[in-house]
């Protein structure tokens, strides 16, 4: 992310984006996004630790990292399903079923 002061135009864009996001996104989607951000940060942290410090118990790294990635993908798909904008694409799937499928897959 560019520092806001050095390039006012860029900061303006980001600001607009943020405003639009916080204004138009429902709380439930924001909640999912928070979870996604957490998963992403956790995955990045593990990957950096593996690259910079040690990959010694490599299977432990694989387990931790892949569980993160998997959870991220599943949560992202959940997000796309509960997003009201995609309602037409998932007509036949009830919201309860999303959650059941989501939990089952996890």
């Amino acid at each position: 992310m560019a520092p806001p002061k050095s390039s006012p135009a860029a900061s303006n864009v980001v600001h607009t984006l943020w405003k639009a996001y916080s204004g138009q996104t429902s709380d439930r989607l924001k909640f999912i996004d928070a979870f996604l951000v957490f998963l992403m940060l956790s995955g990045i942290a593990q990957f950096l630790y593996c690259v910079l410090v040690t990959d010694y118990p490599f299977n432990a790294f694989l387990a931790g990292f892949s569980s993160n990635v998997g959870q991220f993908v599943l949560t992202a798909s959940l997000r796309s399903q509960v997003n009201p904008e995609n309602k037409n694409e998932f007509k036949e799937v009830s919201p309860e079923r999303y959650m059941t499928l989501y939990c089952g897959r996890s």
């Binding site: 979870f35 998963l39 593990q46 630790y49 118990p57 931790g64």
Partner: protein
């Protein structure tokens, strides 16, 4: 081994009153010309008193045969026929080698004459000088001819009694090859040399001395009495001359009032050759993990292994095997083709005959052997080999949790915990929304 042990029990049962016995049997065949038999009566009587059962046979006599139906008839054979050129057909150099393979011990006397036995000596890495050249020495000054020599005995020799007076010797020397199985017992005096008796011209001698090397047979590197222990454990002793065992030399004084050491020397040589002394064996060996007692067939890499060997020495006085802790340089090898570990196997104090070592198995899997290979001049060879497998840890043999992996554990656990929290909050939020919606509808 079983045969040997039963033989020992047999001997112990037969004669508990006799005072010194061989560990391999007490039947002795003496091949000697009948008219010379009385020349060695002191030596023979000494053997009889010890309990040996002597059988005499002329060199050309047909019976008793040494090997019958592929079994050696005697535990020990003494060949005191150094000048015989033709032996009975069962005594050939080849059959003597066979005898050694059947654990029979031999004492063989040589002479300056060329006989079938001289060519046999070459097979034991002893090189004899040309025929007709006995050992001569003009020192010390004495009345005897130059070919009758008082030979000083080494003061401390593992086979001989300590501080023996000089022994009289007459016969041919031999030079020793570099065969590691040779056990030198008596060497020629420094001032002695091999030459034709009297007939030899001084010029030829000077010539030989100037050429040096193979032309010269002189000095203390020459052997007079030399032992040889085969890999089977049988022993053969070569005497440069039969006279060293004779009554004449045994009773002859080396200087005024000092009797010669011949009789005791002959006794010591027979004691070593006939497996009375310097006879060791490994009774048993065990191996197990530290803090356990049962031997395993499989060890895991990096295990701490305890290896124990029990060693006995034959005691001829009591005719029994007694635990022996006197070996200080025993080694254990843990080998897979090459020794991966070679370590000292030391005696345990307070437990006679027990040798123990604890070591870490190498970080390498494969089929390994515990090896003891102890070969020292004059002692019986100790060999033991036990095969075990060393395997990598089984699938459940690794540590369950590694402290180094905690960052990754944290990642995985936090993901699951976050998932549960998320699901719970999500569902809670869902029902709240519905309720809200329901309120609105009302």
């Amino acid at each position: 081994m079983v045969y040997l042990r039963s033989l020992v029990f047999l001997i112990a049962g037969l004669a508990t009153t006799l005072h010194a016995k061989s560990s391999t049997g007490d039947s002795v065949l003496v091949v000697v010309e009948p008219n010379q038999q009385d020349n060695y009566s002191l030596f023979f009587n000494g053997l009889k008193e010890q309990g040996y059962d002597l059988t005499f046979r002329a060199p050309k006599a047909e019976t008793p045969v040494v090997i019958e139906y592929d079994v050696a008839n005697f535990a020990h054979v003494i060949l005191l026929a150094p000048e015989t050129k033709v032996f009975a057909k069962d005594i050939t150099p080849q059959s003597l080698v066979d005898l050694l393979g059947k654990k029979t011990n031999l004492i063989v006397a040589l002479s300056p004459k060329q006989t079938p036995l001289s060519s046999l000596a070459a097979e034991f890495s002893l090189t004899l000088p040309p025929p007709g050249t006995p050992l001569l020495s003009y020192f010390p000054e004495r009345e005897e001819p130059a070919s009758v020599i008082p030979v000083p005995v080494p003061a401390s020799h593992s086979i001989l009694s300590s501080n023996l007076p000089p022994v009289w010797f007459s016969g041919a020397p031999h030079s020793l090859g570099n065969n590691p199985l040779i056990v030198p017992i008596l060497r020629a005096p420094a001032a002695s040399f091999a030459s034709e008796t009297d007939g030899g011209s001084p010029d030829a001698l000077v010539d030989a001395a100037e050429r040096g090397g193979e032309g010269l047979w002189a000095g203390s590197q020459l052997g007079l009495v030399t032992g040889f222990q085969t890999l089977d454990g049988s022993r053969i002793t070569w005497l440069g001359g039969a006279a060293i065992l004779s009554d004449e030399f045994a009773t002859k004084e080396v200087s005024k009032g000092v009797p010669s050491g011949n009789l005791q020397f002959a006794r010591d040589v027979a004691k070593w050759t006939f497996q009375e002394a310097h006879v060791l064996r490994i009774d048993r060996t065990t191996h197990h993990l530290v803090n356990t007692t049962e031997p395993l067939e499989l060890y895991t890499t990096n295990d701490q292994i305890v290896y124990t060997a029990y060693i006995s020495k034959y005691d001829s006085v009591s005719s029994s095997w007694v635990p022996y802790s006197g070996i200080k340089d025993l080694q254990l090898e843990f080998t897979m083709l090459d020794p991966h570990i070679r370590t000292a196997l030391l005696p345990v104090s307070n437990e006679p005959g027990k040798y123990l070592v604890t070591f870490r198995a190498p970080d390498r899997h494969g089929v390994f052997k515990f090896l003891i290979n102890y070969k020292r001049k004059g002692l019986s060879f100790l060999e033991s080999s036990t095969t075990v497998a060393v395997v990598p840890p089984r699938h459940d043999g690794y540590p369950r949790f590694l402290s180094a992996a905690w960052p990754y554990y944290t990642g995985a656990i936090s993901t699951s915990v976050a998932f549960f929290l998320f699901s719970a909050l999500w569902l809670a939020g869902d029902s709240r929304e519905k309720r809200a919606k329901g309120h609105k509808a009302e």
